[in-house]
Assembly symmetry: C2
């Protein structure tokens, strides 16, 4: 890597190219080819998310990629929000189609049309369905691999409940899942914000979104979960008959972890000047064995490499790099690719019955006897995943700050602070103009209020209009 991570934007573009994570030369603007090294990790991420969803009683389904225009336009806020971004199919089999079909930008309208046919009584509830799929949105903002493109790979979960309380419990469960997986397993810290009313999902009552921070202090939105209330169930006629024979509209939530974007956050959070740093549980190759050979020792060392591989491949994905490149070249290459653990084996190690283990995250070298190798690798793997998460947490919490005046906010953001807490008049639509002022003066977006306890401002004034503040919101520059 020639670009240091301190030059983040260029570092990011370089690493996605050099580690062969994606290829941007595909012939449609905003569409990229996701390459094996990235896909192998994202497949693991998918499995972990699907496992977590199914463990919480979601079941998988596959809905069509195309949505008839007549379905798509049933919920008025939703259609307004999404229609500017839709790819439309208008021809098929050599003829104009009877109706235009949207390539799904999200599946509410496809799914909820069917839900109305499926739900009759209380025994049909809760309905918790998810699908693993791609969605397509004709983004007008500049695209950036994995972060923003016109095709992305995600999971969407769409749930129906008999009561508002159950729906809110689902929102909290979605947040727990994000904490367990994205922070716990992938080591990426974030905060859940309740978005202001002017920035919620099209058709939702409330949107709760996990925001992480990029190395340059800018916010990146990770999964969001939406309290849909009865907006869609009324538009789509999703009703159940209650104990008294009365028809009630269901309460709905939806949740959209975007796997390709979470992958971007993993690259950005853990990477360093040498390239990617992958958590052990997500690395396509967890241990790379590099033989250190001279001509006369080659056979013996390679034999030992094979023996070591056999010893540990029960528990780790292991690769021996016996290409013709120099050891130094191999070290750089596998470090750049983020392989968490390297084992070096030379003739001296063969003689002493040991190997040298090198950790990707901190470069620590240890000589380990073969009879404790497996045990050592397990310890290193666990400690590596914990250490990179702890490092990310420290970076993240150092970036939190607060400000009470606009000038102070601007300075904090310029100094690289990520989320700056500010007093605000409200998070209702009526305060959207105040967010506009923050945007103009500080090039920052108002991300919403922290989900959970954050206190109420007392005797404070809205940072934008000076009216009495009723709520703390957070401002950040964003991707």
């Amino acid at each position: 890597m020639k670009i240091p991570k301190s030059n983040f934007s260029e570092w990011y573009n370089t690493i996605t190219k050099e580690a062969q994570l994606c290829d941007l030369r595909y012939g449609i603007k905003g569409f990229v080819v996701f390459m094996p090294w990235a896909v192998m990790t994202m497949n693991r991420m998918y499995s972990m998310y699907e496992f977590a969803l199914e463990g919480r009683n979601h079941v998988p389904a596959w809905f069509p990629a195309l949505i008839p225009e007549s379905y798509f336009t049933r919920e008025s806020d939703h259609v307004k929000g999404f229609i500017p971004e839709v790819f439309w199919v208008t021809e098929a089999g050599g003829n104009k189609t009877e109706e235009k079909y949207a390539m799904r930008p999200t599946s509410e309208t496809a799914m909820y049309t069917m839900y109305a046919l499926w739900i009759h009584g209380k025994t049909d509830l809760p309905l918790k369905l998810y699908q693993r799929c791609q969605v397509w949105r004709h983004e007008t903002k500049a695209t950036k691999p994995f972060i923003r493109s016109r095709e992305f790979h995600w999971i969407e979960a769409h749930n129906c409940f008999a009561t508002r309380e159950e729906a809110m419990a689902q929102v909290r469960e979605d947040m727990e899942m994000a904490e367990e997986i994205i922070h716990g397993q992938f080591g990426v810290p974030f905060l859940f914000f309740k978005r202001p009313q002017w920035d919620k999902f099209a058709g939702a009552e409330d949107t709760f979104a996990a925001d992480t921070l990029m190395p340059d202090g800018r916010a990146l939105q990770l999964p969001s979960t939406h309290m849909l209330g009865q907006n869609f169930s009324k538009a789509f006629g999703i009703k159940y008959t209650d104990e008294n024979g009365k028809d009630e509209h269901v309460w709905q939530t939806c949740y959209g972890p975007c796997i390709s974007r979470i992958y971007a956050a993993i690259i950005a959070t853990h990477g360093d000047d040498k390239g990617l740093v992958l958590p052990v549980r997500l690395a396509p190759v967890q241990v790379v064995i590099v033989p250190i050979v001279k001509d006369e020792t080659k056979a013996k060392v390679l034999e030992k490499c094979e023996e070591v591989k056999k010893m540990i491949e029960c528990c780790f994905v292991v690769k021996i790099d016996n290409s013709e490149k120099t050891p130094g070249f191999k070290f750089n290459e596998w470090e750049m690719k983020g392989v968490p653990i390297r084992i070096e084996i030379g003739m001296r190690d063969v003689d002493s019955g040991s190997v040298v283990i090198v950790r990707r995250d901190n470069g620590q070298k240890t000589s380990v006897k073969l009879d404790v190798l497996e045990e050592s690798l397990h310890k290193i793997a666990e400690s590596l995943d914990n250490d990179i998460r702890a490092k990310a947490d420290k970076f993240f919490s150092d970036k939190l700050s607060f400000a009470y005046e606009m000038e102070e906010l601007g300075k904090k953001l310029e100094a690289g602070h990520g989320f700056v807490r500010i007093p605000f008049c409200s998070d209702e639509l009526t305060s959207e103009s105040c967010a506009g002022i923050v945007k103009d003066k500080c090039q920052a977006n108002v991300r919403g209020s922290l989900f959970g306890s954050d206190g109420k401002p007392e005797h404070k004034k809205c940072i934008a209009c000076g009216a009495p503040a009723t709520i703390y919101l957070y401002a950040a520059r964003q991707y």
Copy 2:
């Protein structure tokens, strides 16, 4: 199930509806919603296929769902074959797109454009890439759920080699994989036919396709693997520089296991008059526990059910059905859904420390002591999967036949024979008219020659034109 399997077509439509495998009421013709019970099985099928591919050094990638028209039209036979079936995107973000984009009906043209950029020298070969995705084809034939629809779920593997021999070895590996998974694991028998030249994949040199038989004796095509030769590499400029510095075009193969269609074959092959019969390794619920209770014993029996569930859920996916329905109703319902093993627990079983196990495939009932339950279940599971495969094999081999005269062929097909071997003048394009005669006279298609040893006809005449026969081909009625 009110429809016996002997009335296959209606039985099939009924079971896909009653077992809630799919919903045909979606608003675009030929697009269906795949429901959880089917998707849970198909996800297992995907995992097994992906595991087999990766074990054979294929790596996963994700290519865009949209293909620019200019890519799509580069190989002339290919485009001729596919263009009548393409769904086209012509509008995006409120404007006409610069170029039309095809929703991929298959990905040769998307992938090979990139392969030309990726492959330079011999060290880039072999390139073995696969993707799990959906494809879209505007079929004009009648659609049937899982068997033929306008959106289907498959895997496509696309490989490049330095030599023709390596490419042919890949074709054989693809066939082995089909044998290992579709026959070995899913219990669905098939034969691999080399398709006649008039029925090969658009752009291929040769197509090898696995055909199975439906209960009504009609053939259904399962995965096909294609020897592409250098047709595409020449059209797309995929070249490598050999040892002598000379540019050579690569040799290519592609392989397309269609998961949704293989699922159809599993339904059709193993199902019976009571409904689905699922192999244990593919069942979303492998063991269902049905409590047999009276009011006064309910608590004790349910407690025992929970205890039994805990004992075996290490190794099996277990569900207790403690709904309010009668045991008889539950038996029917879970039999219809194809759950392979039922455990019945009543007060007598609680007292005797045993349970009753019932096998779905043959209805066999056994009383088993709790201390040997896990062991018994493993044995039953293995034997069930083997037995349903053996039964399917028997059915399949009984349907093979041969004929030397057209009238005889017609009679055999009418009698329900599936594949009938016939002498033919050749399988080259010049013999296509003979296949037309078979089609006219017997409503049957010529599926090709058996891959592997099948002998040469001696002193036989082509069943259609009477010219000297040079090859044995197989005729079948088809889906």
